[in-house]
């Protein structure tokens, strides 16, 4: 018998010993970060960055497969006893020697998870992790010239890139209300001092919101640069338009943090068939909220349409994508993102 077959037999036997629990339920008591366990991490430190942002140092469990600079990770944190999942960009370089990773979180008003992480998270706390994902990443072959266009916490995935890969010619334009709101400001200025980065800070409280046309003056050769942009929807929409109008849309890579809601639908009766719950939903409330409001266990993550942590089969009916207004109709195998979909008539969500 091969060793794998032997091991699976031994595991089967162990399952008979522990039924109705699983052996892992007992192993979790002593070693929650072991290889083979559900992916978890332990918060080891929390470093304040600005008045409302902090970097969380996490030791991931043994099953962690590593990440690519610019990717994000979904983390599940218990806030007031309730497990909430959100996605955050990884800000640590991929080759960090001690095996830790970091995320940098900005507390947003009324943000349950972000405020918890920035202000209340304690070293030693166990959190839940997913494998990192996302295609807001650098290409294999290094571009000669790079532009990073960021605003607010949009700097976090870019910081992961900056720390990971050095380019010969990097320009960054970053927007924040005031100088002290600039996350990683000291580190950025050190890079500038070392001639590794050219930085323009736009302080929107005094300078006003960045007018994309000003790029010509701030970064005259912007059109020749491979650009990564991350920030609020207004900035990204303007950038998309600007790059297209100048005929270089392929040079622009963007990461959206928040869906911009285009159309609201009519709503309808939503059935969560697995749980057997039926509720009325309007055409503007994401089905994720509808489900949670009805007490259905809904998977979730970023809650803004980027992580696909909330995908769920749509068994019947139709839903409308809150960002695009697009209608999706039920078909075998159709999955929808419940966080950015609302009922467009009666529908059946397999939960």
């Amino acid at each position: 018998m091969t060793s794998t077959a032997l091991r699976s037999r031994a595991w089967k036997l162990l399952e008979m010993v522990t039924t109705p629990l699983l052996p892992s339920d007992y192993l979790d008591l002593v070693s929650p970060l072991r290889a083979g366990a559900d992916l978890r991490g332990r918060i080891e430190a929390v470093h304040p960055e600005t008045g409302d942002a902090a970097t969380i140092v996490i030791r991931p469990g043994r099953g962690w497969r590593g990440h690519t600079a610019g990717q994000y990770v979904r983390i599940g944190v218990d806030v007031d006893g309730v497990r909430l999942w959100r996605a955050y960009s990884l800000t640590s370089p991929t080759n960090r020697q001690d095996g830790r990773v970091t995320i940098t979180v900005k507390a947003i008003p009324d943000g349950k998870v972000s405020n918890h992480l920035v202000r209340r998270a304690k070293p030693g706390t166990l959190i839940h992790l997913d494998h990192p994902t996302g295609d807001f990443v650098l290409p294999k072959t290094k571009p000669a010239k790079v532009l990073y266009l960021t605003a607010g916490s949009g700097i976090t995935p870019v910081m992961g890139m900056l720390r990971d890969t050095e380019f010969d010619d990097v320009v960054m334009v970053h927007c924040a209300p005031q100088p002290h709101d600039v996350i990683f400001r000291k580190e950025l200025h050190d890079l500038v001092a070392d001639k590794k980065l050219q930085l323009t800070e736009v302080h929107t409280d005094t300078d006003g919101i960045l007018d994309i046309a000003r790029l010509d003056e701030l970064v005259p050769d912007w059109a020749e640069r491979e650009t990564w942009a991350c920030g609020p929807a207004g900035l990204l929409d303007a950038a998309e338009k600007h790059w297209s109008e100048h005929g270089v849309p392929e040079r622009l890579h963007i990461e959206r943090f928040r869906p911009s809601i285009v159309v609201t639908g009519d709503g309808g009766e939503v059935t969560f068939s697995t749980t057997g719950k039926t509720v009325d939903a309007d055409g503007a409330t994401p089905l994720l909220d509808v489900g949670e409001g009805a007490g259905v266990l809904m998977p979730s993550g970023c809650r803004m349409g980027i992580c696909f942590g909330c995908v769920t089969p749509l068994k019947a009916g139709a839903v409308r994508d809150l960002r695009t207004g697009e209608i999706t109709e039920a078909e075998p195998g159709v999955l929808i993102q419940t966080c950015v979909s609302a009922a467009a008539g009666p529908c059946d969500i397999e939960r």
Partner: protein, 378 residues
């Protein structure tokens, strides 16, 4: 059985007001539910797992009598914790708000031969909705006993003290059979129903696993302690069964608890539903440890009012609920465990015989809480 409706003095308005006051109690707990409660259930779960692990470990040496005693005691307690404070309450969805898929009513499985999903249906759905309604809530005597004068007597009931005793010893199997509605489903036609067969198969699988674990694998692992370990697990199961049976009997069978007629729940309002739960349940008084070991089902009244509130909150809720009983001059049935167990058994024995002929000025069977739906419609 009271011949007089103990809630007759309440007006329809008062009953609705009572409902609102109970809703307020519930909202308060929900608003305040949080980290501490989550920490509580996690602590109980890991304590249970540790205790079970250690006890099973000790039983490997159960050939030595002190190890047998210690291991058996530990395993009995661990099994009681699994079924009562942990399993019963998680399966009620009391901890679903934590959104932890591992401590969730949709994923939990317990150390019991009735599969969790079948039990949830017969218990959460049927028993808790139709509490003490004759003909609808089979928990009233589990369909094999007569526990109220209003139920028709049959010579079969003469044996019910014996059935009840056997049911106590093998309670988990009784529950499994009950969840399957064996009595009704074993007739020729229903037996073949594919849905019933699938459920029966699931029970069979669960029994196989449970029996294999308790009576084959663990004894085998104990080697020379095979027989003592076998005896220990049998004892632990017996202890757990008798204990949970006793606790559960105390919830609805003691004297003073009301039962209801089927037609009395037609058009029932929220307030009336609450009132029925209040009058149909009974508590057990005692120490914190006792409440814990009953899975807080000693607060049966509170549990029936708010089946999905976290069990660790019933004690504080009970103070407020009891004040409402006083305010509305209702009888809060409670007492120490021995007294309640005796009372429940007394009822079982008494009702194994036909009703005594009634006195001339007493109506024989006035259904408690009989209402005319059209009079209370809001």
């Amino acid at each position: 059985m009271t011949a007089i409706d103990p809630t007759a003095h309440l007006t329809a308005e008062q009953i609705e007001e009572l409902g609102r006051e109970l809703d307020a109690i519930r909202d308060e707990v929900i608003a305040d539910r949080g980290e501490k409660d989550a920490a509580y259930i996690r602590k109980v779960i890991s304590a249970q797992r540790t205790l079970e692990l250690v006890s099973r470990g000790v039983l490997l040496f159960s050939i030595f009598p002190p190890a047998w005693v210690l291991g058996t005691a530990g395993l009995s307690v661990a099994k009681i914790m699994d079924n009562m404070e942990i399993g019963h309450n998680i399966l009620h969805g009391q901890w679903d708000w934590m959104r932890d898929p591992k401590i969730h009513s949709t994923t939990w499985e317990w150390d019991h031969v009735s599969p969790a999903d079948q039990w949830k249906h017969s218990h959460n759905e049927l028993h808790h909705t139709y509490t003490n309604v004759i003909g609808k809530d089979n928990d009233l005597g589990y369909g094999i006993m007569r526990v109220d004068e209003d139920q028709k007597w049959h010579p079969f009931h003469l044996g019910q003290p014996l059935w009840n005793f056997l049911n106590a010893c093998f309670f988990e199997y009784g529950i499994a059979a009950y969840d399957l509605e064996l009595g009704k489903n074993l007739n020729k036609r229903r037996r073949k129903n594919p849905e019933f067969r699938a459920r029966a198969k699931a029970v069979g699988r669960k029994i196989r696993k449970q029996v294999l674990k308790d009576y084959v694998i663990h004894p085998l692992l104990s080697g020379p302690s095979f027989l003592p370990t076998l005896a220990a697990t049998f004892t632990a199961n017996l202890v757990r069964n008798v204990w949970s049976h006793s606790v559960i009997m105390c919830g609805h069978f003691p004297e003073g608890v009301q039962v209801f007629e089927r037609r009395s729940i037609k058009g029932e309002t929220r307030g009336q539903w609450y009132l029925r739960q209040m009058m149909g349940s009974a508590n057990i008084s005692g120490s914190k440890a006792m409440h814990f070991m009953t899975g807080n089902l000693s607060h049966q009244i509170e549990h029936h009012l708010f089946p999905d509130l976290p069990s660790n909150r019933y004690a504080e809720v009970a103070v407020k609920v009891r004040a409402l009983f006083e305010k509305y001059e209702l009888d809060y049935v409670t007492g120490p465990l021995p007294k309640q167990v005796f009372s429940a058994w007394h009822r079982v024995v008494r009702l194994s015989l036909p009703n005594k002929p009634s006195k001339p000025n007493e109506k024989p069977t006035v259904p408690a809480l009989e209402r005319e739906p059209e009079l209370v419609a809001v």
